[in-house]
Symmetry: C2
Subunit: 202 residues, 2 copies
Amino acid sequence: MPRLVDHEVRRKQITSATRRVITASGLEAVTFQTVAAEAGFSVRLVQYYFGTKQEFLLATHRSVMEDAGARFARRWSDLGEDAEPREAVKAVLTELLPLDDQRREEAIVLGAFAAAAITGQGITTEETLAAPRALVTLVAHQLARAEPSLPSRTNHELDAELILVAAGGITQGMIQGHYTAKSATALVDHLLDRVLGPDTRT
Amino acid sequence: MPRLVDHEVRRKQITSATRRVITASGLEAVTFQTVAAEAGFSVRLVQYYFGTKQEFLLATHRSVMEDAGARFARRWSDLGEDAEPREAVKAVLTELLPLDDQRREEAIVLGAFAAAAITGQGITTEETLAAPRALVTLVAHQLARAEPSLPSRTNHELDAELILVAAGGITQGMIQGHYTAKSATALVDHLLDRVLGPDTRT
């Protein structure tokens, strides 16, 4: 079904163009005109695929979550079940931090949607809550593996929240230019030291 | 000099109106028209005080930093020099978190400026860097008081970075509705437990 594939490719080209417009000029710069120009399409073609601006914004948000989710799943699968808990948690955080251009674009786009949601525009926060909750559960599980002796799960959940909220702050600091990849990674290592104890592996 | 006071009151009314427009509808909603309407002034009056939109955006940013700084200084002075380090650090974080309407408005406005700076609009990040650096130094100093036995200042600086970056993530989580005042406070306490050790006071 070559037509169907064409459609998917076109939709992807439009959402990718939308990401680039957001990254370069912010969410408020997104219009049918700017996205069509960035994609090299006519406005009518973009309108054929997405009837409203809200529709292609939602599709763009979904595409970022899917790309990040797929990359995350690959990394997780590469690690295997026997990975050290510290290594596993660090892999989670490394996939979240904007350490390359793609992750930087994702972080800026998601940050722009989050900022818009605060003032009631665009995507509601409910749609972005499921993925962070799943990450908290996943990190808490790794912490429980690392510290099986702790009496209750409460601390693992709180530690996982703390790790992910700090990662969110580091991400913001990186895209605002306060942290380099190096200083951000040092801060992640220090965070893991504080939660899991110093890294004692040789 | 009543004229001079009038001018200051007017400028304050305009920057306060700008804050409310940003909080309600985002930075992209800010125009001479919307700010004048919010302040109950004519567009010409706003233009009399601020020649360009950039000028009253800069003044608004400055007013938020000044208000937060003044409130912070009062809190710090109330604490006194003999405050427990943990109490002092918690006071710093409590002033930063959006736990009431004013601090919520400040956090949303500063977040909007930070997001705009990423895509090259408005305020550059350099202007917002001085205050966080001062806070890192201040928190590191308190951590050094709490743990004088540690051999070097390196860990205090990294711990202070970690505390402030986590506080930034918690602030974002609060204004996005992921955390309540209660769950945010629990996370701050847990953060302090992880950095300073459990709170052993009765």
